[in-house]
Amino acid sequence: MEFNNLKIDFTEEQSMVNASAKEFCADNSDTKRARQLIDSELGFDTDTWDEIIQLGWTGINIDDQYGGMSFGISAAIPIVEHMGNTMMSIPYPSHLLASELIGRLGDQSQKSQWLPPLCDGKRGTVAFLDNEDWGSEPQLKLIKKNDHYLMTGEKLLVSDALSADIIIVLATIDTHPVFVIVESHMLKPQDLHPRTLIDETKRAADISLQNIIIEETQIMHASHEIVRDIKLLGSLLMAAESVGVISITLKTIVDYLTTRKQFGKLIGSYQSLKHPTVEILLEMDSAKSLVYHAASIIESGTLSIDSQIACHMSKAKASDALSFAGDRAVQFHGGMGFTYDCDAMLFIRRAQWANQQFGDPQYHRNQLAKLIFD
């Protein structure tokens, strides 16, 4: 059991990106805006997406030969954190994961075909789930039929499926995992079934796949490792976003605790509120340290044991911390916290979404135990 990779770097790229992400997110989102977007179909503002394209962030992790910034996905971590911190729900993490997947797994012609449009702002996402268990093996099958394949079945709770132009579907050929690149126009609108999420600022849909014809060029043959790695990167993005959400949750609590009085005293002076609030801070700090450690060491190739550990730990800690923060945010706002108008509502609902995405903390700890003890 070697366990002493304690690297944290903050590169110039990240530093630059961090500064502009902070400003950009503050300018374009807050809880009020997030509430306004709840009733929209796609859940985000396409103008904002256009600005993200302008900033080059749609290609931040994509090789410059395909029009990207070649910064690596780590550079996007501060962006995603700031999005969480301003409750900006936009399909950016889904997009990053899709382009990262093609960048890692695609062959030359697949990269040439898909990465430039993704850089240019076509939106991507990845469809993982065959059922509600993030720990299960992929099941959806491609059946060979002459010179192509047929894909029939269903994918569940695909993030941002409705707004995606390119959906990469995890499937299998003879039990071997493959990722299949599907353009949304290949699906009929009625095959996308939007789900009603507890986090009303997020969007996900089930996808019915009925004898979809898949050409060999759409297929990226995968390994157990790449499936694992792409889920781990998803976990890390989710963790980074969660760190941002915990931070705004904490600020919202602190605001209330420093203005609301009860029995003649500011309620933040009561230790039964003050100390758990400190606990939220400490847990957020832990999650943030783990996230930036992971961001400092993840490789562009197959993830090392250290990186796997770092991603698992980030997600396990961030989700637990956000679940706690969201729950306490409601409680500590008292009667106000029980209303839809109080922002604690946004945070506790986000916590339920974030907790299960890419596997809950227990799942990640179980994976860690296998990596470390077995």
Binding site: D133, T196, Y363
Partner: protein
């Protein structure tokens, strides 16, 4: 109304009868998620469904059984209602929604009301025709009744009411409110300056504004009084006795034996229910109920749940409560509501990715019952004194620790 000795046979025959009746008459799934408490009635649709059910229960003779027969009851010993209630709980039928009427206003009217008041109010409470609400809490004053600001000023044979109430359950539907208002402004008389009214709601000067809950549903209102004129005859007891009447209400909460009309007012959630969920979900490809961590967590919950049930029983033996008298009753709210929060939150964890959906989603486990139940649970850890305040109460009144 006295608890005559009824033979065991008679009672068990009755139990059989009610059980049979419920089996046949229990409403079918209406296609929408039914409320667990009367604080969750956000639409006419839900209200009408529950109103129909309560009417059916009452008109079939299983509600208000111990209330006087001349006012809609049957004058039977409370044991019959208790048995009926137990069977309703067992069969998980819908709640009897008119809770403030059935459990608070009704018993009080029977206790101290005039003949005329009984005639006017009781039957409508039972049939569900007259919906009642409660007007105690006020904005910005949490649950400290001593700081109630709503004023009721005597003017000839009326009182003129001004002020506002918050967290009025079914305020928008209610015909009557049990209202606590200040009839004396003397600052030394924080509690005995309060009076208790059976106030009409559908009169000029009374308006309500719905409060949207964290769940997205409605169920509460804020209620505003602007020179609302209510008859002086709606005063219960004497002027200035409001606080003591409000305290009196608490005793009725102990159920039919204490005067309540009966019916179940809350659909409890149990660990067994969550175990049923766990049976249908998987962790890493195997049944959640085979997952050691899930098992350990569920067992922890089962232990705490059993301890709660047993605590109610142990509290009846003085000798088993000598070390810290009153500990069990005074900590009951804190213990139960916090347990329920843990349970309901865990019920989501058990669902895996399905935890992420909500009421309205077609594939949601139990139509999103647990998601809504978790969020709704905060009304119990916040309302009626937050858990933090409850812990102070236990610390100070059971352990004798100093005040903050």
């Amino acid at each position: 109304m006295h608890n005559n000795k009824h033979s065991k046979t008679e009672l068990s025959l009755f139990r059989k009868k009610v059980s049979e009746w419920l089996r046949i008459n229990k409403p079918k799934d209406p296609g929408f998620l039914l409320p667990q408490t009367f604080m969750e009635i956000g639409s006419e649709q839900v209200l009408n469904f529950l109103r129909e059910w309560q009417f059916k229960l009452w008109s079939s003779g299983f509600l208000g059984m111990s209330w006087p027969s001349e006012f809609g009851g049957q004058g039977l010993p409370p044991i019959f209602q208790k048995i009926a209630d137990e069977e309703m709980k067992k069969q998980k039928v819908p709640i009897c929604f008119n809770v403030i009427g059935l459990g608070w206003a009704g018993p009080l009217i029977i206790d101290i009301g005039t003949e005329e008041e009984k005639r006017k109010y009781l039957k409508g409470i039972l049939s569900g025709d007259d919906i009642w609400c409660q007007g105690f809490s006020e904005p910005n004053h949490g649950s400290d009744l001593g700081s109630i600001q709503t004023k009721a000023e005597r003017s000839q044979d009326s009182y003129i009411v001004n002020g506002s109430k918050i967290w009025t359950t079914m305020g928008n539907f209610a015909k009557y409110m049990i209202l606590l208002a200040r009839t004396n402004n003397d600052s030394d008389r924080r509690y005995d300056g309060l009076s208790f009214f059976l106030a009409p709601m559908k009169i000029p000067g009374v308006s309500t504004s719905p409060i949207r809950k964290i769940t997205g549903d409605y169920g509460f209102t804020e209620t505003f009084f602007t020179d609302a004129k209510i008859p002086a005859s709606t005063l219960m007891g004497e002027e200035g006795h409001g606080w003591s009447l409000a305290m009196k209400l608490l005793q009725y909460e102990r159920g039919a034996e204490a005067g309540a009309a009966g019916g179940i007012s809350i659909i409890p959630t149990t660990v067994e229910d969550v175990v049923e969920v766990a049976k249908t979900t998987k962790k890493d490809g195997i049944s959640s109920l085979k997952d050691p961590i899930t098992r350990d967590e569920l067992i922890k919950l089962l232990i705490d749940q059993k301890a709660i049930y047993l605590g109610e029983r142990r509290a009846t033996f003085n000798e088993l409560c000598m070390d810290f008298p009153n500990s069990l009753p005074l900590s009951s709210k804190l213990r139960m509501t916090e347990f329920s929060r843990r349970l309901r939150q865990y019920a989501l964890t058990v669902q895996g990715a399905a935890a992420a959906v909500y009421v309205g989603d077609k594939k949601a486990i139990q139509s999103g019952f647990w998601q809504r139940a978790y969020l709704n649970n905060f009304s119990t850890t916040i309302g009626g004194g937050t858990s933090q305040i409850q812990a102070n109460i236990v610390g100070e009144h059971v352990l004798g620790l100093p005040k903050d």
